[in-house]
């Protein structure tokens, strides 16, 4: 019923979308800048299209539709992903599609950028945390093979 939800891939998308829905909800009680006006002028075209499609097919009133949509937004779960680089939009879409295909719908990404992790990712979901960064892998290797690495560097110098 809520096809507009498919547009939300990240937490930033969620925040923007929520702001647009609040705007649309307020416009229900406006005379001049009413729902149609706001859909045409104040929200993104993709969002506007999705909402128009939902409203035309749903038997709910616009107010109940928006309330239901907001309730669905509250149910969305967030997967925090910290990367060493800022991914381009194509990569974000690929990641989001992979998550939806393998982990099910209702999951969005909270992407953060931290160059100090060098590579890999830090993943946190519902309080659980996993460190798959290159930095921690190198730290682990160095602490277990410290002597061998130092000897290697010394030999190279010679």
């Amino acid at each position: 019923m809520y096809t507009a939800l498919a547009l939300i891939k990240t937490k930033d998308d969620l925040n923007t979308f929520r702001a647009e829905i609040d705007l649309l909800k307020d416009s229900l009680f406006e005379k001049q800048k009413n729902l149609d006006y706001t859909l045409a002028n104040s929200v993104r075209s993709s969002v506007s299209q999705a909402i128009k499609t939902d409203l035309s097919s749903a038997s709910l009133s616009p107010e109940n539709y928006f309330n239901g949509l907001l309730a669905e937004l509250d149910q969305l779960k967030i997967l925090q992903l910290t990367l060493a680089f800022e991914p381009p939009p194509k990569s974000i879409t690929r990641l989001s599609d992979w998550v939806a295909a393998n982990l099910g719908p209702g999951l969005i990404l909270d992407l953060q950028f931290d160059p100090t992790i060098l590579g890999g990712a830090l993943i946190a979901y519902q309080g659980k945390y996993h460190d798959y960064s290159l930095k921690s892998a190198l730290d682990r290797d160095f602490s277990t093979n410290q002597k061998a690495i130092i000897d290697l560097v010394k030999n190279e110098k010679v």
């Binding site: 946190a124 519902q126 309080g127 659980k128 945390y129 460190d131």
Partner: protein, 497 residues
């Protein structure tokens, strides 16, 4: 930062601050957080898990820095501990066991103990059987305390409670008892005064100060007495008797009320939370007379007895002892010493009202001689007070009444004590016996004080004199016998004057 990352990897859990209140934050995540567990914020601050809700974990902040929403939080898997050891003697610490003021760095003790533990059960306890001499005549002779007793010190503000406590510390240090003074929501100046008193009387190596200033966080004020009790328990386990002073528990209750109201707990009577009794009783139950096991150098175990005597303080308003927290504390403790503002205004020092004071286990800890003396003195004072009230009617007094009044005035002069002096128990008893025997019959009470001071000083400095006094105490089974013995040796007290 490295430690924070290590904790994240160790526990495999992360939390995010969702809401920030004064003294609290709400943290989402941390699915396996436990109550009272310590958490570390990404910014380096520490917090303690207060409660677990389905949507968030409520964390009590242990540092004053504002925590921003979105800050990451890691579990430590540990509970709040304080470093304990003999290195703490002579130090002034805060509620977390760190040095209180800028002073020489504290050598970190190796052992750490949990601040909040379940009090020992009855199996590990022994009846109180030894008197705790406070060095204050009013208390030692009339309202005696035992080692391991919890005696509430209650009275209006600025009535001499802290002076009495300092005298008790002085007397305890002379008996090689370790003293832990806890300042709860005190001013910096008040703590400095206690420090100066300890230094001036050279009892630094027997004393530890734990203080939470009034300007500190409510969480630190709340934790201060628990830290003090933990330090006391360490010394108890080393075989030492310990005196713990909690000054004062009303402030402790008020700060706990503030925390509970901020945490949106349902307020009860006088807006205190429903568990205020439990918070203070589980602290005071950690004092007592205990049986501990100690390791011998050869590895075998031996059983020792060691006590924690606790003197919690409760401030009154206009002498009203029917307050909520005051009555709670009275029911938790083994008696109370009531400092009467009327007596204070009449000039009595210390202003202890023996008829409104109670000691539930003090008399069982006394030797039969002192128990008999207490009984005799208490009934005499009650009779004396009645006669004094009767005098106001202006009726003619009989010879016996006048004699009783004269002895009563002398006894009152004997019991009066300056805040910087302590009187050992034995010389106290002998001087009273001498008064009873009529040694100073007809003398003006004002003239007796210097004589008493000289004899007390004599006892503390002349070992032969002290030995003779102690022998009298050991020989006399009851007070009437002591009076007879003192009468037989008039030279003992008169030649030294």
């Amino acid at each position: 930062m490295k430690k924070f990352e290590e904790l994240l990897n160790k526990t495999g859990e992360i939390g995010y601050v969702e809401k920030s209140y004064p003294s609290f934050v709400h943290v989402s995540g941390l699915p396996e957080a436990r109550p009272s567990e310590i958490v570390l914020f990404q910014s380096g601050e520490l917090g303690q898990v207060l409660s677990l809700k389905p949507e968030f974990v409520e964390v009590l902040l242990l540092s004053g820095t504002n925590i921003r929403v979105g800050t990451q939080v890691a579990r430590t898997g540990d509970f709040l501990k304080v470093a304990v050891g003999s290195e703490l003697l002579g130090q002034s610490l805060n509620s977390l066991g760190h040095p209180l003021f800028a002073q020489s760095p504290l050598k970190k003790p190796p052992e750490h103990r949990l601040i909040d533990i379940t009090p020992p059960t009855i199996v590990n306890r022994k009846p109180i059987d030894q008197q705790f001499a406070t060095g204050v005549s009013w208390v030692d002779l009339i309202v005696p305390l035992g080692k391991g007793q919890r005696e509430l010190v209650v009275g209006d503000r600025k009535i001499g409670k802290t002076q009495f406590l300092l005298q008790a510390m002085l007397s305890a240090a002379a008996q090689k008892i370790v003293c832990v003074y806890t300042g709860i929501a005190k001013r910096r100046y008040d703590i400095k005064q206690v420090q100066d008193f300890i230094k001036a009387n050279q009892i630094t190596k027997n004393t530890v100060i734990v203080a939470a200033l009034a300007s500190d966080l409510p969480s630190l004020v709340y934790l201060a007495p628990y830290t003090a009790m933990t330090i006391a328990e360490y010394f108890r386990d080393q075989g030492h008797d310990v005196l713990v002073i909690l000054d004062d528990m009303i402030a402790h209750a008020k700060y706990y009320r503030e925390l509970s109201l901020l945490a949106r707990r349902l307020p009860g009577r006088s807006s205190y939370p429903g568990d205020i009794f439990y918070v203070q009783s589980r602290l005071l139950e950690r004092a007592g007379n205990f049986i501990r096991t100690q390791k011998n150098p050869d590895g075998t175990l031996k059983r020792i007895t060691a006590s924690i005597t606790c003197l919690p303080v409760a401030e009154l308003v206009m002498g009203d002892i029917s307050g909520y927290i005051q009555t709670n504390l009275m029911s938790i403790t083994d008696g109370h010493l009531f400092f009467d503002s009327d007596l204070y205004n009449q000039g009595r020092r210390p202003a202890i009202n023996p008829f409104l004071s109670v000691t539930r286990v003090g008399h069982q800890a006394q030797l039969p001689l002192f128990r008999d003396l207490s009984r005799e003195l208490t009934s005499f004072l009650a009779h004396f007070e009645k006669l004094r009230a009767y005098m106001h009617f202006g009726a003619e007094l009989s010879e016996a009444t006048r004699r009783t009044l004269a002895i009563g005035e002398q006894v009152m002069a004997f019991l009066e004590q300056s805040p910087d002096s302590t009187v050992p128990l034995n010389i106290n008893a002998v001087l009273l016996a001498a008064l009873w025997a009529g040694f100073w019959k007809g003398k003006d009470p004002a003239d007796l004080k210097p004589e008493f001071s000289k004899l007390i000083n004599q006892y503390q400095t002349d070992s032969d004199f002290a030995a003779r006094i102690n022998q009298l105490i050991e020989t006399a089974p009851l007070f009437v016998d002591l009076v007879k013995l003192v009468k037989k040796e008039p030279a003992l007290l008169s030649t030294k004057i």
